[in-house]
């Protein structure tokens, strides 16, 4: 089976080539088959790999395949090789599986595009799948970085998919450049890793971490910090999250796939993958947890007041990503990955649902102009409901288990403050998500009658994936039933724990924890309670007492404005970084280059030469007397020099 690993990324790549080169002529039909088809096939292969691994005993669940040696210069070597272990296979399943669904969904969503655009879209999407698979399957940091940049590129291309509108293109550019800032850190991390371990292969680095690095030593600290900078960029954490909200400029399925389900979680994957290093750097783990928590709360607060449906989802994504970092920050890697998976299900669904809404409203994204859509689009409604409950953390929906495990692990790791933040975020999440839900589907329709006349449920190609994901959002969480509930239900094992456990061997979170049940139940109750309160509050504010929010907003005008304008962070960056840099560049060009170097030095030399030239040729007065005088002068000078010199 291992021999076929290469197929997984190869299939989407094939899709890229076919769609990219022939797509325009072959027409939508072929593209619509090839695009999703290749991903589906990849999914199939992945499942096969999964089963293969499953068949083995936990200790030896590793498949590798080396294609060729990619870079070999001096003592640096990096192979193009794949590593398939429980961790990567989990991600591969998510990428190909959810990816496949979204590909299918896209057929319906993008059917208005002309043949060229359609082909271009699926080319990009396949390319993204390929890059993402490269990212999760890489067996060394460099190849991981290749995928890392690859997904960045695709997100750039897809955000700017409708490039005729400058705004979209700039959003893409912003995404790419902000990501580059992160990659800068990632690169330094890789340099440092190579410098320390003499290799960038996981197989060489991770096992050696404990022996080479000192616990809490500066080396470990810097390596992990640099890598984390990369993660912060890719996974849109403070302070580099700014690109993600803008990224909503892309087609909605793209937001679902790239900016919710897969790419943005790459950071979590990377940290988890490099857990061996992070465990040697507790300080950085603390930073990770801190930033995660902060981002979670921060984004939630912003999400609370956004009116653009996709923006709300974007901030919620950021918030949820924060959650995941909170998890890995307390070394609860399994929990982090767990939430990553469940989040992939329900957040993708939320986006697709939102997409379906936007689709039927012909591009309308402002929730204040929606409402009561329940009547027209039942499938969307019910699936969205499932997803919203899941993200709100209502049992037994997927989100509940993962989120709850995170909170529990945080508490257990002895960070009550972080736990509190997590809890508050949970409440806020429930609040703003149901705000979204109610504003969209309940109440009266607030759009134009013209829009109203066109309201319709989306075509099956869109609804089927919705349903599929809906199911996953419900049951997805059951793969990680905590022991606390598990033994109530008769010792249902925590499948995920035992599945990923071996990967995180040595991780403190790894070994089964003999918790103090009462506390665990208490926490569980608390989180559920908070979620419920949130939902009720949302119902109260946006369903029963529609006027209330405005009044509150007026009451706390400054705070409202602050949230509404996302804490003015974009403006801040613009003023502190972008403008000064542009100004400096202009200075370098006009003053240093033109003025100093070319004008003063080069031009100056030229002028001096011309001036001297003038002098030495003016002496040539044309009058014999001058010549004779100079001549005689020279002669006398030489004489004097010889006789007295």
């Amino acid at each position: 089976m291992a021999a076929w690993i290469w197929l997984v990324p190869a299939l989407p790549l094939a899709g890229v080539l076919i769609n990219g080169l022939l797509g325009r002529r072959a027409g939508k039909g072929l593209v619509a088959i090839v695009g999703p088809g290749t991903v589906g096939a990849a999914f199939a292969v992945t499942v096969a790999l999964y089963l293969e691994l499953l068949g083995r005993d936990p200790g030896s669940r590793v498949l590798t395949q080396t294609l060729y040696t990619w870079l070999e210069a001096g003592d640096f070597t990096a192979r193009a090789a794949f590593l398939v272990d429980p961790l990567s296979v989990t991600l591969m399943l998510v990428v190909t599986g959810v990816g496949f669904l979204i590909h299918v969904y896209s057929i319906g969503y993008m059917h208005n595009e002309d043949a060229r655009g359609f082909a271009r879209y699926f080319t990009y999407l396949n390319l993204f799948t390929f890059a993402m698979l490269l990212l999760v399957m890489a067996d060394n940091f460099l190849l991981l970085f290749v995928g890392w940049e690859g997904v960045g590129l695709c997100s750039y291309l897809l955000i700017g998919f409708w490039f005729k509108d400058k705004a979209n293109a700039s959003a893409g550019k912003k995404a790419f450049i902000v990501n580059r800032v992160g990659d800068f850190g990632f690169l330094l991390g890789i340099f440092l890793i190579f410098d320390t371990f003499g290799s960038v292969a996981f197989a060489d680095v991770l096992p050696a971490a404990e022996s080479v690095l000192a616990l809490g030593g500066p080396l470990a600290f810097w390596i992990c910090l640099f890598l984390f900078v990369g993660a912060v960029g890719k996974s849109a954490q403070i302070p580099l999250y700014v690109w993600l909200p803008d990224a909503m400029a892309g087609p909605t399925p793209v937001s679902a796939l790239i900016h919710a389900a897969t790419m943005v979680t790459a950071g979590i994957y990377m940290v988890a993958r490099a857990h061996a290093l992070y465990e040697m750097a507790p300080a950085v783990l603390a930073v990770v947890a801190g930033i995660g928590a902060a981002t979670a709360l921060y984004a939630a607060t912003i999400g609370l007041v956004q009116t653009d449906i996709k923006k709300v989802l974007a901030y919620s994504t950021i918030s949820q990503l924060g959650y995941m970092f909170l998890a890995v920050g307390v070394a609860a890697f399994t929990a982090g990955i767990f939430h990553l998976v469940t989040h992939a299900f329900f957040k993708a669904l939320l986006f697709l649902g939102a997409g379906s809404v936007i689709h039927s409203l012909h591009g309308e994204q402002d929730m204040t102009r929606m409402g009561g859509l329940k009547r027209w689009m039942p499938v969307t409604y019910w699936t969205m409901l499932a997803a919203t409950l899941a993200i709100a953390g209502i049992p037994p929906f997927a989100g509940f288990f993962s989120k709850d495990e995170i909170l529990w692990k945080v508490w257990d790791a002895g960070h009550p403050l972080l736990w509190a933040i997590g809890l508050a975020t949970a409440g806020l999440t429930a609040l703003y998500m149901f705000r979204l839900f109610f504003l969209t589907f309940h109440g009266e329709f607030r759009g134009t009658p013209e829009q109203q006349s066109h309201l319709h449920e989306s075509p099956p190609s869109m609804t089927i994936p919705l349903v599929a994901l809906g199911v996953l959002s419900v049951i997805g969480g059951w793969i990680g039933i905590p022991p606390a509930i598990g033994h109530v239900l008769g010792d249902v094992p925590n499948a995920l724990e035992s599945w990923l456990g071996p990967v995180f061997e040595g991780a403190h979170a790894g070994e089964p924890h003999h918790a103090v049940p009462p506390a665990e139940y208490a926490l569980m109750a608390a989180s559920v309670a908070v979620a419920v309160i949130g939902i009720l509050a949302a119902r109260h504010l946006w369903l029963t007492r529609p006027g209330l929010p405005e009044r509150i907003a007026l009451r706390f005008q400054p705070i409202y404005a602050l949230l509404r304008n996302k804490y003015f962070v974009d403006e801040l960056y613009d003023a502190v970084i972008v403008r000064p840099y542009d100004a400096l560049s202009r200075f370098a060009w006009r003053v240093v280059d033109d003025g100093l170097i070319d004008g003063l030095l080069v031009g100056g030399t030229a002028r001096v030469v011309k001036w001297q030239s003038a002098i030495s040729s003016r002496a040539e007065s044309g009058y014999v007397s001058t010549y004779v005088i100079v001549f005689f002068g020279g002669a006398v000078a030489i004489l004097v020099y010889y006789l007295f010199g």
């Binding site: 002068g633 004097v640 006789l643």
Partner: protein, 171 residues
């Protein structure tokens, strides 16, 4: 004070004065005549140095030929009268004076004045009166200085041709 000494001082004085008058005089014709005077003095000085033949040549060629040529041109171009443009501006004069004095000063100051030749040349030691004799010079010209002598002839030829070419009227 020997006769030679007297002769030297007199001739030297006249030579210097007349030379000065040549370059100071307004009237070109006068200058020519003063030049002739200074040439005569030089001839005289040659005599004091026992170079009789050269003295004769000096008088014949210079005073006789060259000066006539000068006068001839002066007359031809009718430049006999003084001309206003004739002198350079004062600054030039000053510079010229300084340089001239500098030149003499340099040479004299460096001890040219009390220079005594070290007779180390190959043909050294020929007694002065022999040295100045027509015979000696004639022999030298046709023996050891044959080539330069020939070349000098060519110079005269070239000068003649050249003068013809340059001064000839337009065709």
């Amino acid at each position: 004070m020997s006769g030679i000494a007297i002769a030297f001082w007199v001739l030297a004085t006249i030579a210097v004065v007349s030379s000065l008058l040549v370059i100071l005089g307004r009237n070109p014709v006068a200058s020519v005549l003063f030049l002739v005077v200074s040439f005569f003095c030089l001839a005289g000085l040659f005599v004091t140095l026992h170079a009789h033949f050269l003295a004769a040549i000096q008088v014949l060629v210079y005073a006789g030929a060259i000066m006539v040529l000068f006068l001839f041109v002066l007359m031809l171009l009718n430049l006999g009268t003084p001309q206003w443009f004739d002198f350079a501006g004062t600054p030039t004069k000053v510079v010229a004076l300084v340089l001239g004095v500098g030149f003499v000063g340099a040479l004299v100051g460096a001890g040219v004045g009390d220079f005594t030749p070290s007779a180390r040349g190959p043909a050294a030691g020929i007694p002065p009166d022999v040295l100045g004799s027509t015979e000696a010079i004639g022999t030298a010209l046709y023996s050891s200085f044959f080539l330069p002598f020939l070349a000098t002839a060519l110079i005269l030829l070239v000068a003649m041709v050249g003068a013809v070419v340059l001064a000839r009227r337009e065709r």
